[in-house]
């Protein structure tokens, strides 16, 4: 990271602490904001946040490593979480899983080489009556069928990157 970039990032973290507070209870909101914008919480970010809140950086790391929506390594622009819980299993999640792997060319737990997609399992997302369900970032898709997978992926590509055709999508951050 360039020095100027690093300074800008530090200022950003200071602003977040000013917004959410400098006490320990502000830790998760700050981390969530960093995750949202940068899609990872880097060791540098953890160090600065620890200083701001007056805790040891390891404390921050222990929190980041605990929550499955916080990552200490970069992930794709779009994180796809397919629900692996029982109702979605009964509804046929396995075929969706296979199709996602086929269309993305990666396995679960991996990120596409272009950094666009990360594929993960998610636990129950409260769409049990409309399974199989999956989350793409904050957006939820229900009653997914294998042939919908390619369209959903294309929708994501269309909203981000060089070939984006529209960018008003709110789930792209």
């Amino acid at each position: 990271m360039l020095v100027t970039e690093r300074e800008r990032f530090r200022d950003e973290l200071h602003a977040l602490a000013d917004e959410h507070g400098h006490d320990r209870a502000a830790l998760l909101p700050i981390l969530q904001a960093v995750q949202r914008k940068h899609r990872e919480i880097s060791p540098y970010a953890m160090q600065v946040i620890a200083d701001l809140l007056g805790v040891h950086p390891v404390e921050v790391y222990s929190v980041v490593s605990f929550y499955s929506f916080l990552d200490d390594k970069p992930k794709g622009r779009f994180i796809i979480r397919l629900c692996r819980t029982i109702s979605c299993e009964l509804a046929g999640k396995q075929r969706i899983a296979r199709q996602l792997e086929n269309d993305l060319g990666i396995r679960f737990g991996e990120t596409t080489p272009d950094g666009m997609f990360t594929l993960e399992w998610g636990n129950c997302m409260g769409m049990c009556d409309q399974g199989p369900a999956m989350l793409v970032n904050d957006r939820v898709y229900t009653r997914v069928t294998p042939d919908m997978v390619a369209d959903i992926l294309q929708e994501c590509r269309d909203t981000f990157g060089l070939h984006a055709t529209h960018t008003e999508e709110e789930h792209v951050v």
């Binding site: 998760l28 909101p29 809140l53 029982i86 109702s87 009964l90 636990n123 129950c124 049990c128």
Partner: protein, 397 residues
């Protein structure tokens, strides 16, 4: 959403803020007395009497108290809170405000699970509107010295944070690991202050009770499980969705309503609940019989119950916070055991050891997650024993 009887759900029929107005017209003690009289118990699944909780928090001495709404709906097969938050958020906020008045709190916090981030903007807009309408903020509805406001805090994908002390740890910026109890949150909760943690549905019912009276609520359900309850129905049935039923409904009646009469088993209470076989469909869903937070997952006649047990145990292996040994080490052992059963490599002696391990986990785990994690496995082994032993391994791919 569908009601048990013809017609709309109770929540739809409620007059906005009737409960809050009624509460502010009487004393704090009278509000708590009314909730106690209704017999309302926690709708998240644990079934703790709401009146008792509010009374303890109300009696605790502190000038800062908190009302927390547990919207970390993570139990597999549960989605009623999502529907309530989408369609009846006002009722939940009304219930929180009533709770704030009853216990003498100024601060409300909704702990919304990360998976429901898409609901947040809408909820914030509802809160903003309520502030404009003087339903939140200073001197609510002209009541002198009653100030109360609500903020939304997000979870980050941890099932365990639905446990109330883990939720509080998470709010304080720590790993979501459950605390030892006592002390209970009602005296030592968020930042060591008296705190009530109530489920989304519980708060909505509290608002209904204040509006319509405890006697109206007690008119439904059984003596020990009063009132109505929302159920999240999924799995192998014709009409899945959210339903409103009185407590004490039999499993068979429920299955008839949702079109799942041919089920061979029903998981009641989500992954941490029990699997009920068809011979027990005459039992009732109530705190004194089969207790539940409202999750009902129907398994059709073709389902392999070991697949079901495997799915639940994979869930617990992943979601165990890792703090206490019985839960952290026990769940992987049970999962391994289910896989041995699936492959037909499990002796009866070893199965008995697994059952004993399950019972140990129920006794020795620190929190509700660990204590209830073996339930599904134990009940499936008990109820479907003839289909799980002596299997021939299936060649996969």
């Amino acid at each position: 959403m569908k009601a048990a009887h013809e017609g709309p759900l109770t929540f739809t029929k409620m007059e906005p803020n009737a409960g809050l107005s009624a509460a502010l017209a009487i004393s704090r003690a009278e509000v708590i007395a009314e909730v106690s009289k209704s017999g309302l118990k926690g709708r998240g699944g644990a079934g703790f009497p709401v009146g008792v909780k509010w009374n303890l928090a109300g009696a605790a001495k502190s000038d800062r108290k908190y009302v927390v709404c547990n919207a970390d709906e993570g139990e597999p097969g549960t989605f009623k809170d999502r529907v309530i938050l989408s369609d009846y958020a006002d009722l939940v906020f009304e219930g929180m405000t009533i709770g704030g008045y009853a216990i003498g709190a100024q601060h409300g916090i909704v702990y919304l699970r990360g998976e429901y981030t898409y609901l947040r903007a809408q909820l914030e807009a509802t809160l903003a509107r309520r502030r404009e309408e003087k339903l939140l903020g200073k001197n609510i509805l002209g009541k002198k010295d009653f100030d109360f406001d609500i903020e939304i805090r997000m979870g980050s994908g941890a099932y365990i944070c639905g446990e109330e002390t883990a939720l509080i740890e998470s709010l304080e910026g720590y790993r979501g690991e459950p605390r030892n109890r006592p002390p209970f949150p009602v005296d030592t909760g968020f930042i060591r202050q008296p705190t009530t943690v109530n489920n989304v549905e519980t708060l909505a019912w509290a608002a209904c009770i204040l509006a319509k009276g405890a006697d109206w609520f007690k008119g439904f359900g059984t003596e020990k499980s009063t009132g109505l309850k929302l159920f999240s129905i999924s799995g192998d049935c014709d009409r899945p969705g959210v339903y409103e039923f009185p407590m004490g409904i039999t499993v068979a009646d429920l299955l008839k309503e949702v079109g799942g009469e041919d089920a061979k088993g029903v998981q009641i209470g989500g992954a941490s609940g029990h699997c009920v076989a068809s011979s027990d469909f005459g039992r009732t869903i109530a705190y004194e019989d089969i207790s539940t937070g409202g999750s009902v997952i129907v398994f059709g006649p073709e389902r392999d119950m070991l697949d079901v047990a495997e799915n639940f145990l994979e869930f617990f292996v992943e979601e165990s916070c890792g703090q206490c040994t019985p839960c952290r080490e026990g769940n992987p052992k049970l999962l391994e055991g289910v896989r041995m059963l699936k492959e037909g490599r499990c002796s009866m002696a070893y199965l008995k050891e697994l059952l004993a391990l399950g019972e140990t986990m129920q006794l020795a785990s620190k929190c509700g997650l660990g204590q209830s994690s073996p339930n599904a496995f134990l009940s499936i082994v008990e109820n479907f024993r003839d289909e799980i032993m002596g299997r021939t391994p299936v060649q996969v791919n």
